[in-house]
Amino acid sequence: MSAVLSSLADVPAGFASPAQASQSVFRSVLDAVSRPGRVMQLDAQMLAGMVAPVALQGRVGRAMAALWLTLLDAETTLGLGGALATPQAAAFCRFHTGVRVAANPLDAAFVAWRHEELMPSFWEQTNPGTDEQPQTGSTLMVEVATLATEREAHAPSDGAVPTHALRLRGPGIEHEHRLHIGGPTRALWERRIAQQRDLPCGLDLILCCGERIAAIPRSTRVVLD
């Protein structure tokens, strides 16, 4: 029939069992954020059946799509940055979660980026919250090229993508964790480090790579190696 009516038929499938999958993914996110520096592997069984929007395959992994389905709802806003701002991705999020997709991604409570498109200036312009209401600061969900803990970081980087080793200390970390992240530039990490002094304001970061996630909340002290 007409293009207007068939757009629902193009929406990719969400979780096969939404209640269980969203709880499982949320638990992983909770663990990632409360223990920064740990890389969490999302449960493959929970992700089964979910089709990351076709327009985004290759640009985001299923972890990012799973985060959208879990963290977003009708009471919050989503920003899709750069190449992620496709009508199909917006339709996917709106249908399954009821979220409002913000016209300007920098205004949203949750903002999704691919690492190449997240410029340090965008970091600056995203809402970090206020001293009275620091919790209103946005959460960034960034798809990165590689994500590895100290133990996993054996393979040498191919050089095409900048890899940085971050040393993390602070709440949720007993002594120190090292995280090897390929994708975001040094300038971006420096911006993040500079924002540390604005605590409690700041941006929370969730890193996605394929079906794995890690998080660097604003309370974590980051040092570049």
Binding site: S2, S6, A9, A13
Partner: protein
């Protein structure tokens, strides 16, 4: 009327027929669905919706109250042509019936099946609902009281 408006109106009509059909009536036709395959876009879920009405039927809007609604959406890929999506929205709690409505909606959008389903499913359901409503109206009419001495409030 534009093509889209005509198509939308038609779809609203058959969705209304499906939604108002009694469980027993639509269950009889449900055997037709077995030979087609469907994929869940949204598995049946039960929730509350706020029903709104207008004062006097045409005045200001107000919240009438909350109603329990079951809803679901399915996708059907026919042998030829584009995939269609069917939706079911029903008052009350009935996931199975909701699934039948959504599946029929998806099939009715497939050009090859449209005629057949209109004839075999929608028409009988429409007739059955109309009969039931006529019966109810007739039954209610027997208790209607007319006050000849008082003027009607409505200027009809």
């Amino acid at each position: 009327m534009t093509d889209i408006a005509k198509v939308t109106l038609e779809r609203q009509r058959w969705l209304a027929v499906l939604a108002h059909a009694e469980r027993g009536a639509i269950e009889q036709h449900a055997a037709l669905l077995a030979e087609y395959s469907f994929e869940w876009l949204r598995a049946p879920e039960i929730g509350l919706t706020m029903v709104r009405a207008r004062i006097g039927g045409e005045g200001d809007r107000f919240n009438l109250g909350e109603a329990t609604v079951t809803r679901c959406a399915v996708r059907h890929q026919p042998a030829r042509g584009a995939a269609t999506a069917g939706i079911g929205y029903l008052l009350g709690r009935d996931p199975a019936r909701c699934a039948w409505v959504a599946r029929f909606d998806a099939l009715l959008q497939v050009a090859a099946l449209h005629e057949l389903l209109e004839r075999e499913v929608i028409e009988p359901l429409r007739a059955a609902t109309a009969r039931k409503r006529a019966q109810q109206r007739a039954h209610t009419a027997t208790s209607s009281v007319r006050f000849y001495a008082l003027q009607s409030e409505l200027a009809t």
